[in-house]
Symmetry: C2
DNA sequence: GTAAACGCTGGAGTGCACTCCAATGTCAAG
DNA sequence: CTTGACATTGGAGTGCACTCCAGCGTTTAC
């Protein structure tokens, strides 16, 4: 498929896709006329990119994950290790978010906002 | 406390703190010599800023939340509403992360990596 | 055959969140 | 009284993740 269709099916702009290609986040073949040709497999990949990115992973990180996966020997062990790493990172973020949530909930309980302006200012 | 101490106690650079002040994320009084003077209350606030930011909230958003909290009428209802909003946002992020984790776990289970390079390319 | 829609490139510009720097001022210790 | 650590400002620079544009070629519909 060409870049326009990919753009519509992913919700990414053409410019964003071309940018992703420049930084090695996605690959394409070229038609004889020079147009990019993308395979169907980029759809789930870009979907993953979108999700991971929205959740705080940088494009550089994501590109590295993709590269590692592609360069990894086919051994299930190597792949598992890579995924385990990713999952651990996600779990860490989950834990942080839970902590933030707890903090918010605790402060919601008291009358005390995040920035105690007039609280605890009486010596 | 002055900016150097605050920097050490928060782990933020002096420049970052001055930048935060410029965008209204934190406030200070000035000593007669022009030095910034920060109260103890900025410590938990900057800690919160750090956490929230690391978890995907922009400084603009965080500043807005702080401002809302400060400008909110003292009504417990208003504060509760603001906290409920924040918590809902955090919960949404938690849900997204959980989904990503599930996706990772699922793909780790199959032999199929994120970018199925040689999979499903046999017609 | 022509107009609209689509594609290409290179380069400039944007917004965010800082970081670095130079020139200058303040203050405590020796 | 100088030295050093710390403070101030304004402005420039950085890295990220795009976005926009000019100027051009290609494809498609009529």
């Amino acid at each position: 498929m060409r870049i326009g269709e990919l753009s519509e099916r992913t919700g990414l702009s053409r410019d964003a896709i071309r940018f992703y290609e420049r930084i090695g986040l996605v690959e394409s073949r070229r038609s004889p006329n020079g147009y990019r040709e993308f395979g169907e497999e980029v759809l789930p990949w870009l979907d993953y990119v979108r999700t991971a990115q929205r959740l705080g992973f940088s494009l550089a990180e994501i590109a590295r994950h993709g590269a590692e996966l592609r360069e990894a020997p086919d051994s299930a062990a190597a792949l598992s290790a890579l995924f385990a790493e990713r999952i651990a990172a996600v779990d860490a973020k989950l834990a942080e978010l839970s902590a933030l949530r707890a903090e918010l909930a605790a402060r919601a309980g008291t009358g005390c906002p995040l920035e105690p302006d007039r609280v605890s200012s009486r010596p």
